[in-house]
């Protein structure tokens, strides 16, 4: 008999309690995962006109849905738009956020930067409303422009604060001695601060990227031109509204998308998130972000 030395407060509970916990945990995991499995399984099913049984395995495995999606250009084009918006948006977001976070990391030395910091924090307190934002984007001439999906959300006060906290943890001596050696502020940022903050930079970049990829609001409001729609709007059109997209004109209901086709679009729209998720998860479970919240 092996005895595991556990402290008394970690003793194994009685078996009914354990069984109950296992059932509850199992149910939670099932509720979280079953919908995803169902969607994937349906997307690989041949469309037979009937609903897949339990939906855990594809019914009549087939790549037909994906083939027809990639034969047309609606989803492909929207994927390109989403990829472009995500890449360019994330790059811009990082430039703006790093600049802000570093520039505001020494409010005592740099006159005026405390005021800017409070102005940034203030944006967490209010939102200016949908209509004023719409009128602004319109008056800037950005309606129906790809930039309308990037510029209005290019920076986020919370991410800047997280990054700034991280920069402020960098030992002052390190910065001062680099400056003694003749390093400029720019060199200190690029050679010292950024390499020391790789992990948090990666997380924030991924957060921005996921935000751009998932963005529905901005594209819905600012982009009427179907040719410029990102994947989320196409997903809404195909799956949520159940309408097909006629590239030339307004949406038509001529060829209603079938279930497997719909689910394939869902899978395509979700896949990039699933790909980056393990990276995201590795970092935020380390408590990096909660550390920032807890200050």
């Amino acid at each position: 008999m092996t005895t595991v030395s556990r402290p008394p407060w970690m003793a194994r509970p009685s078996w009914p309690v354990q069984a109950l916990k296992a059932v509850v945990i199992g149910a939670i995991v099932l509720v979280m995962l079953y919908p995803l499995v169902y969607v994937v399984a349906t997307s690989f099913s041949a469309d037979t006109g009937t609903v897949a049984g339990t939906g855990l395995l594809p019914e009549h495995y087939s790549l037909q849905a994906y083939r027809s999606i990639f034969a047309g250009n609606v989803v492909l084009r929207s994927l390109l738009v989403s990829i472009g918006v995500t890449l360019i948006g994330t790059a811009l977001s990082m430039v703006v956020s790093i600049g802000m976070a570093w520039g505001l990391s020494r409010t005592r030395d740099v006159p005026g930067s405390r005021f800017v910091l409070y102005a940034v924090l203030g944006t967490m307190l209010f939102t200016s409303g949908i209509i004023p934002n719409y009128l602004l984007v319109k008056s800037l001439g950005l309606l129906d422009s790809y930039w309308s999906m990037v510029l209005p959300v290019v920076a986020n006060a919370f991410n800047i604060v997280v990054l700034r906290n991280f920069f402020m943890e960098i030992p002052r001596d390190l910065i001062d001695s680099a400056k003694m050696d003749g390093a400029s502020e720019w060199q200190v940022l690029v050679r010292i601060a950024l390499p020391l903050s790789k992990a948090v930079l990666a997380v924030i970049a991924l957060f921005y990227a996921v935000g751009y990829w998932n963005d529905f609001f901005n594209a819905l409001i600012y982009v009427n031109d179907h040719a410029k729609w990102p994947i989320q709007l196409v997903l809404n059109q195909y799956v949520v509204l159940g309408e097909s997209i006629n590239q030339a004109g307004p949406p038509t209901t001529a060829h209603l998308p079938v279930e497997s086709l719909k689910m394939a679009v869902v899978v395509i729209a979700t896949a990039p998130i699933l790909v980056v998720y393990p990276f995201l998860q590795r970092y935020f479970t380390k408590g990096m972000l909660t550390g920032a919240i807890k200050g």
Binding site: V96, G129, P152, F216
Partner: protein, 318 residues
Amino acid sequence: MSLTTAEPVRETTAAPPEKPKKRSRMRQHPWMYLFILPGVLYFTVFQYLPLLGNLVAFKDYSPFLGFSASPWVGFSNFTGLLTDSEFLTALQNTLLISLLQVVVAFPAPILLALLLNSLLSDRVKRWVQSVVYLPHFFGWVIVISIWQAVFGGVGPMAELLHALGFGQQNVMANPDTFLALVTAQVVWKEIGWGTIVFFAAISAIPVERYEAAAVDGAGGWRRTWHVTLPGISSVIVLLLILRLGTVLNVGFEQLLLQQHAVGADAAQVLDTYGYFRGVVGGEWGLATAAGLVKGIVGTALVIAANSIAKRAGQGGLF
């Protein structure tokens, strides 16, 4: 717990020996100003400038006349809101949905955190965590698409209900159960993410307290009740107060995406009202007024909630 404008200690204690003139201190840091320039531009143009756009609430705005040529109408857009039954529906729905979320979606992550915390195996714990965090990263279009697949008219849930003798059911298009549906979706998407902050609070509880409780003969349930819960109660109270401050915010995307399925009576909230009246319907003044009222009340609530949290000795967020 504060959203941290806190400076490192050295900055507050060790003031520089002599303080050079402001002008010359500014010249010492040209890079710093260059660094913040793009951000300052962004926050000025896209966060602060739109505040001026709220003046449209006091105008009979017409896109053809433009901002300055549109006539001022005083508060008539605001009184117009009060006589618009759709606005009142939206307000009522917003409050109802919010209330349900505070009652159901707020405690759910606490319960899950307590449950996961009581697991002995770290591997199981981490695995379950990585499953429940996942939906947080799905946008609302993806979430609604998935829910529609499972709960919609042709999905497995409809089939199951049919087999159980409930007839043809489409949970996604039923206005009567829509409140429950919306709440369930929020729980599904955010329950895992919500646990993170409670996990942090739980891990901050000193192990000695559990030791002492165990020595005194307290079992697992009683330790949870007498040690863990009191240990995280201050975080719970703070988050609850702050949550009440955002009671007017219910997911715009979530509600908009489902409005065509269940109808405006069930799914119209303040934000979707503003969108349909303004961007879609062209009643700019009315829509802006609705947004402005929501914005002002929302900001006031957050500030009030924060000062209540401070007064309750929990420390505010700012």
